[in-house]
């Protein structure tokens, strides 16, 4: 029987069942342990980045090539027929007719869902505006499982910009399938949106809104840091809150031994460089895991069995 993700579009983390998330995580772990160079042999993947991206694009393209597949595409929508006024629907119809799957990033929300309605081959969402970035969530889940040995009953703190961060929203939704417990640490202006808190209430998931990073650190298995963007505040306001959401090495002295610090990167100054040398730092390994998570997903979408 074909695996449940075979020939499926990968658009939104909300489309995944718990079992499908676990399948991707298990497959990523296996591919990290025992690399394969044949799972995409003879396959051609369209890499369509209508908006520039460094990590996501390079890790997708690395994943394809490591699995023996090849890539065509573009890294910037400025050089495509979209610039001449072609609809995304038409562009994807054509690109889908050349390739076995399309990986895409687009500045507008909903672009990947729309593309999936016009593509004859699976579409994988590499980010649509502020909406979804499912492969980031998959690599985060893989990293959580790798560092904690389980996805069940974890205590996770999210720190920084919880209002605009699609990474945070998707990961919270995915982890609520695994009975997680959350701490949300953010300035009031960047607090978790109400609709997400309502969703957690409906699912009976416990969460705590906290002000102080110091109080939260000893309580958690995962400290998920994000960047507080300067442009969201006026200068005086930014100075006032800036220091409160910066992680310093000495703040980790009461952390649990299993606690890992994650960050979707790029970091600016919210994690002090001295943290890198502590046993808690795991964000670079997390970024490396992006390749394995994307390998797992591409393999499952393009092979009946892996």
């Amino acid at each position: 029987m074909a695996n449940p993700l075979y020939r499926k579009h990968i658009i939104s983390i909300a489309d995944f069942s718990r079992e499908e998330l676990e399948l991707v995580v298990d497959t990523a772990a296996r591919l990290k342990r025992q690399p394969r160079n044949d799972l995409l042999a003879g396959r051609l993947i369209g890499s369509c980045f209508f908006e520039p991206s460094t990590r996501t694009r390079l890790s997708f393209e690395t994943a394809v090539q490591r699995l023996g597949g090849s890539v065509i595409g573009f890294a910037d929508g400025g050089n495509t027929s979209a610039k001449k006024g072609e609809t995304l629907a038409d562009s994807i119809k054509i690109i889908g007719s050349y390739t076995d799957a399309v990986v895409m990033r687009h500045p507008r929300e909903g672009a990947a869902r729309l593309a999936s309605e016009f593509s004859a081959v699976p579409v994988i969402n590499g980010g649509d505006g502020s909406n979804q970035h499912p492969t980031q969530t998959l690599l985060d889940l893989f990293t959580l499982r790798e560092t904690q040995g389980t996805l069940e009953n974890l205590t996770v703190a999210f720190v920084g910009d919880l209002k605009y961060g699609r990474t945070v929203h998707s990961l919270v939704q995915a982890l609520s399938l695994f009975n997680a417990r959350f701490y949300f640490v953010s300035p009031e202006q960047l607090a978790m949106p109400d609709y997400l808190c309502e969703e957690l209430n409906e699912r009976g998931i416990q969460y705590t809104l906290a002000d102080s990073l110091d109080d939260v650190i000893p309580q958690v298995d995962i400290l998920y840091m994000t960047r507080v963007q300067r442009e969201r505040f006026d200068e005086a306001e930014f100075k006032k809150i800036q220091g409160q959401y910066i992680l310093k090495a000495e703040m980790l002295k009461n952390a649990r031994t299993n606690m890992k610090v994650l960050h979707p990167l790029p970091r600016v100054d919210e994690i002090e460089v001295a943290v890198d040398a502590t046993p808690h730092a795991y964000y670079f390994e997390q970024a490396k895991n992006g390749v394995f998570a994307r390998q797992a997903l591409l393999s499952l979408v393009l092979n009946e069995t892996v």
Partner: protein
């Protein structure tokens, strides 16, 4: 006692009655009744025994479909919809909130892809307490029904 009809009786068509006062024009726009070319009679702020005041819409020679009646449930869940033939009520629609609404409202999110591509808007509808939430199929943003209805 002399009795006068506020709105003339209808020979063929649809009567939407018991619309909460103030929603009548919104519903008129929702179904584009004015564009049908048929005679449309609208009563606003009519007195009602049960509701205090109400709006009413009569459209000649147009039969509201069950799907349209369900869309009506968004704004006037207690409205009554009677299909009239030869001055008689031949069918009453029971209003039920639809699971999805396609092509009527534009997505309030200006950065949603549905604005620039050849697709109909599409919202999933879910009651939440006294409000109704609408989630755009494309951008996945969730809005209160009043926000979505304002945009059109």
């Amino acid at each position: 006692m002399e009795y006068t009809r506020t709105v003339e009786a209808l020979k063929e068509g649809t009567v939407i009655d018991h619309i909460p006062a103030g929603q009548g024009l919104k519903i008129l726009r929702l179904f584009r009744f004015a564009d049908t070319g048929e005679r449309v009679t609208v009563g606003l702020n009519l007195s009602s025994r049960h509701m205090g005041s109400k709006d009413i819409i009569k459209v000649e020679n147009v039969a509201l479909t069950a799907a349209q009646a369900n869309e009506l449930a968004l704004f006037a869940p207690k409205a009554t919809v009677n299909l009239i033939s030869n001055f008689e009520v031949v069918k009453k629609h029971k209003l039920e909130l639809p699971e999805a609404i396609e092509g009527i409202f534009a997505c309030p999110n200006s950065n949603c892809i549905s604005h620039t591509e050849p697709v109909e808007s599409h919202f999933y509808v879910r009651p939440q307490g006294t409000d109704t939430k609408m989630k755009c199929k494309y951008c996945e943003k969730v809005f209160s029904k009043d926000i979505v209805a304002e945009v059109r």
